[in-house]
């Protein structure tokens, strides 16, 4: 544990809602609108935290526990993910397994909370969520296995730093494939286009948004904040692969923040230029991501 390990933690806690603001701003720009303020998510969170709550009579403690457990899981995951060259607070061999496990725990309880309402609508979202994430999981872990093999290290903090160091020169194709796979996982796990459309609430194509339909007030604030953190963490994985260490920590910081915002802009661009895939096509995209990662692994065997 290093003093600078607190930087990723603090930045994630403070800046993660900003990424969603940047995505929305990018989309507005493409559509020729002015769009919401960059800080809109912060305003939303503030408003939600000051509201009361309405619960369905069907629900039980599971429904109330879901958002809390989910946020606690993702907050714990924040301590495991480095940001560029700033190591994570907790780093150990195969820490990414705990990271993936915590995201899985978050999902498990969000899904149960959705089923707790007894609404077929939320059941539908829950069903798709577990299905798509089950297909995204192999892609994520195979991508990380490829990185681990190339870096010869098993902890996110050292792995990402070593890969971005000099490997791009002679392992460009391998790392590019891994990055594409991770980017697809990022889009799928965060319910973005082309897997899910975060804009509409009431269409039968929905996944994440429909699952949280019955949540309100502080519970919903926890969910929104948790989702922002999850996006931040997966973006940090992608950025960590690219941003090289310069030696000067202020420059590192500037580079990595630039990378994070760039990922948000890319997500916004993807969302502006693409339509959401038909649901039956999504498995092909996710299996494709897994296949890309596996191809990267095999390319790197030599």
């Amino acid at each position: 544990m290093y003093p600078e390990s607190f930087i990723p933690l603090l930045l994630a806690l403070v800046l993660s809602p900003l990424l969603l603001g940047i995505i929305n701003r990018t989309k507005a720009l493409f559509a020729g609108r002015r769009g919401p303020p960059l800080l809109q998510i912060y305003f939303d969170l503030w408003k939600l935290l000051h509201k009361g709550a309405v619960y369905s009579r069907t629900t039980t403690w599971i429904f109330r526990a879901g958002p809390i457990l989910g946020l606690a899981a993702v907050l714990t995951a924040v301590t495991l993910v480095p940001l560029g060259n700033f190591p994570a607070l907790i780093a150990f061999p195969a820490d990414f397994l705990l990271f993936a496990g915590l995201l899985g725990l978050m999902r498990f309880f969000m899904v149960l909370a959705a089923l707790d309402t007894g609404s077929s609508f939320e059941g539908m979202g829950a069903s798709r969520e577990v299905f798509f994430s089950a297909l995204a999981e192999p892609a994520l872990l195979v991508a990380l296995a490829t990185l681990a093999r190339q870096a010869g290290s098993f902890s996110l903090s050292t792995m990402l730093g070593q890969v971005s160091g000099g490997h791009w020169l002679h392992l460009g194709p391998v790392l590019a494939l891994v990055m594409i796979a991770l980017m697809i996982v990022l889009l799928a796990e965060n319910a973005r286009i082309p897997v899910d459309d975060p804009n509409t609430h009431l269409e039968l194509t929905m996944i994440h948004e429909v699952m949280v339909l019955d949540h309100g007030g502080p519970d919903f604030a926890f969910i929104v904040y948790g989702a922002a953190l999850k996006l931040w963490l997966l973006a940090a994985l992608v950025v960590g692969m690219v941003v090289p260490a310069t030696g000067a920590s202020w420059l590192d910081l500037a580079l990595v923040m630039g990378g994070m915002f760039a990922v948000a802009v890319i997500v916004g661009v993807v969302e502006s230029v693409m339509a959401r895939l038909r649901l039956v096509m999504v498995p092909q995209l996710l299996v494709g991501a897994g296949a890309l990662a596996a191809a990267a692994f095999l390319l790197g065997l030599k």
């Binding site: 609404s119 539908m124 192999p138």
Partner: protein, 662 residues
């Protein structure tokens, strides 16, 4: 060892006494359960001694059976399997005393407790036996006792059929074991396991054949695909405490047998590891897919046993790859993860079957789509079932995560170190295990969500009450066990020291060093868990303080403005898994019967889906029908006429005479 002999004597005497004392049923239950519990407690004493590094103990008594000897030994490998066996035996006896109460007065409970005692005795002997004859005797005892337990409700035809499938499957498996033992005995000239382990099989080809025989023979008991057909039949048919015992520990005797036989077979070639990883992936992925497609709660759990046996096979496969490539890290992580998963699966699968039994008894059905909203009526069962569900999905901070972490860690290390021949199967393992984990989470959100959450879907679910204390206590203890192994993961992993030394033959320091390398990350996982729990408490307090003094109302679930929702409109188990079953329909072969709504005012519309077993329908049924046809041809010889039989005898004698004087 005296303790163990005492325990076995108590089981034998308790079983006899239960048969003699046929009335009243209440006392029968307490006597039967009491003897199992006492025997288990006594048996645990030497087991814990051996696991904590005590010396290996043995007893040899001559036995009049040809080639037989009553030779039992308690070494760390046996002790590691004996511990969950004794634990779950005791808990399932307590649970059974409560579970069988509804049968009191309707059926004599003597036989069921007699066979329960015999099953526990059989499992103990299987694990302890060091003589091939004794082993086979114990193996049969276990099979027959469990057959009679499975057919407890023999007046139902489905139960009888399940019983027969189990009986045939287990004996086919035993046939392969007989071959295995005969070939090994001929090669080594002994029936003694310790001699086998010492000499080892030196002939390469023979060792390969023996390995395959062991895979089929022991794999049938363990439930490797495609030898798993009896599990989804027998587990739902048996009373729930028996399902827990069979699925939690009895199938693990197959894993034990495989590990024990690996100690006889010398250095494994690379393809053994490939093969076990292949079997593990097939069992794991297909097991969880078929589990997803089931509507029967206990059948779903049975398929999850296939999946978890697959995960254990993956661990052993990593270990074997480690042995072949000479990397101690892989050996320790692979075998260690597999062995730990044996214990973990016993805990959470026992817990889940107990929960399923409580639901069955409370509602009278294990049809998932008839249930719903049980959390409000059965809060204890629901909470413990939830813990089991999180654990079996391999999620932190519970025990399932710990063993899968070890196997994953082994695969990642091997994937980074080894050449293509070792790295490729490990890559498949990583992808497969990740998929298994994701699908298991899907399956258990379905099982828990549809059974315990939402609104009751039928009358079955709306009039239930919580299970009694005799049933609740074992569930609570097992749930606590799942949490404790998660919280004390580094300590538990340290307990693998003795058994790994014993099984792998690695030196003490090597095992210790590699275990420490695994315990280090796990200690930080525990740090993460503690952080998670602290954050959780903080968030609970935060939410409470935010909502204090504000308006918290209750209403109906938001139905997009529709104000008259009914319970039948909820998502069902089959609709929840529809995306998966559609994607894998070429594999699952789900039968759909659809009656579409027709006309302007549609009256009746229905959809039923059923997913029969892949191998049962496509492999075994046609195969056995062929065998049946072939054997029926012989019936022409048997006309029931005595004159004809006398003629056969005469002809045979003439042929023999002719052969003699040729």
């Amino acid at each position: 060892m005296t303790w163990l002999l005492f325990a076995m004597a108590i089981l034998l005497l308790g079983g006899m006494a239960v048969l003699l004392l046929s009335r009243p049923d209440r006392n029968v239950s307490w006597l039967g359960a009491g003897s199992v519990v006492i025997a288990s407690v006594l048996g645990c004493v030497p087991v814990i001694q051996v696991l904590s590094g005590g010396s290996v103990e043995a007893v040899r008594v001559p036995w009049s059976v040809p080639f037989g000897e009553f030779f039992i030994e308690l070494d760390p490998l046996t002790a590691w399997f004996l511990f969950p066996t004794l634990l779950l035996s005791a808990l399932s006896a307590i649970y059974g005393a409560g579970y069988l109460r509804v049968w009191q007065g309707r059926r004599s409970l003597g036989p069921v407790w007699f066979f329960h005692c015999l099953l526990v005795l059989g499992m103990m002997l299987v694990l302890l036996a060091r003589n091939a004859m004794l082993f086979l005797f114990a193996w049969e005892l276990m099979a027959v006792a469990s057959f009679f337990l499975v057919t407890f409700e023999h007046e139902r035809e489905a139960v009888r059929e399940a019983g027969w499938i189990y009986f045939v499957a287990t004996h086919l498996g035993t046939a392969f074991l007989l071959m295995f033992f005969l070939l090994t005995a001929r090669e080594t000239g002994s029936m003694d396991f310790n001699v086998w382990a010492e000499k080892g099989i030196q002939t390469r080809g023979l060792a390969d054949i023996l390995f395959l025989l062991a895979i089929v023979g022991f794999g049938t008991k363990a439930g490797f695909m495609p030898f798993h057909v009896w599990l989804p039949e027998a587990h739902p048919a048996a009373p729930s405490h028996v399902s827990a015992l069979m699925s939690g520990v009895m199938i693990k005797t197959g894993i034990y047998g495989l590990l024990r036989s690996l100690t006889f077979l010398g250095l494994p070639p690379l393809w053994w590891g490939w093969m076990l990883i292949g079997i593990g992936l097939t069992s794991g992925v297909l097991g969880v897919l078929f589990a997803l497609a089931q509507h029967d709660l206990k059948r779903l759990l049975a398929y999850h046993s296939v999946e978890n046996i697959g995960i254990i096979a993956l661990g052993i496969g990593v270990g074997l790859l480690g042995v072949s490539t000479g990397s101690p890290a892989l050996i320790v992580l692979g075998f260690g993860g597999g062995l730990l998963h044996v214990l973990n699966h016993a805990l959470f699968k026992g817990l889940l079957f107990f929960g399923a039994g409580a639901v069955l008894q409370g509602t009278g059905t294990h049809e998932i789509d008839h249930l719903g909203g049980l959390l409000k009526r059965m809060p204890w069962t629901a909470a413990t079932f939830l813990i089991g569900a999180v654990a079996i999905s391999g999620l932190p901070p519970l025990n399932g995560f710990v063993s899968e972490f070890l196997i994953f860690l082994g695969a990642f290390q091997g994937g980074a170190m080894l050449g293509a021949a070792g790295a490729v199967p490990l890559l498949a393992l990583i992808a497969g295990l990740a998929l298994i984990g994701g699908l298991a989470a899907a399956c258990f959100t379905k099982a828990f969500g549809v059974v315990f959450l939402g609104e009751p879907r039928t009358e079955h679910a709306s009039h239930t009450s919580e299970a009694g204390w005799a049933m609740r206590l074992p569930m609570l203890l097992l749930a606590a066990g799942c949490a404790l192994i998660g919280l004390f993961a580094p300590v538990v992993v340290g307990a693998l020291q003795a058994v790994l030394e014993n099984t792998t033959g690695l030196r003490r320091e090597v095992v210790r060093e590699n275990l420490a390398a695994a315990a280090g990350p796990l200690a930080l996982v525990v740090v993460g868990t503690v952080a998670f729990l602290l954050v959780l408490v903080a968030l609970v307090l935060l939410r409470r303080s935010l909502l204090a003094g504000r308006r918290v109302e209750e209403g109906v679930t938001w139905g997009c403005g529709y104000a008259q929702p009914t319970a039948r409109m909820q998502y069902t188990a089959s609709s929840f898994v529809q995306p998966v079953t559609t994607l894998f329909r070429w594999l699952l072969g789900t039968h759909r019967q659809v009656q579409r709504p027709e006309g302007i005012m549609p009256a009746n519309a229905s959809l039923t889906t059923e997913t029969p077993d892949l191998c049962h329908g496509n492999l075994y049924r046609p195969g056995f029908l062929k065998v049946n046809w072939g054997l029926s041809q012989l019936r022409r010889l048997q006309q029931g006429q005595v004159q004809l039989y006398v003629l056969y005898i005469a002809v045979t004698l003439i042929v023999l005479l002719a052969w003699k004087f040729r």
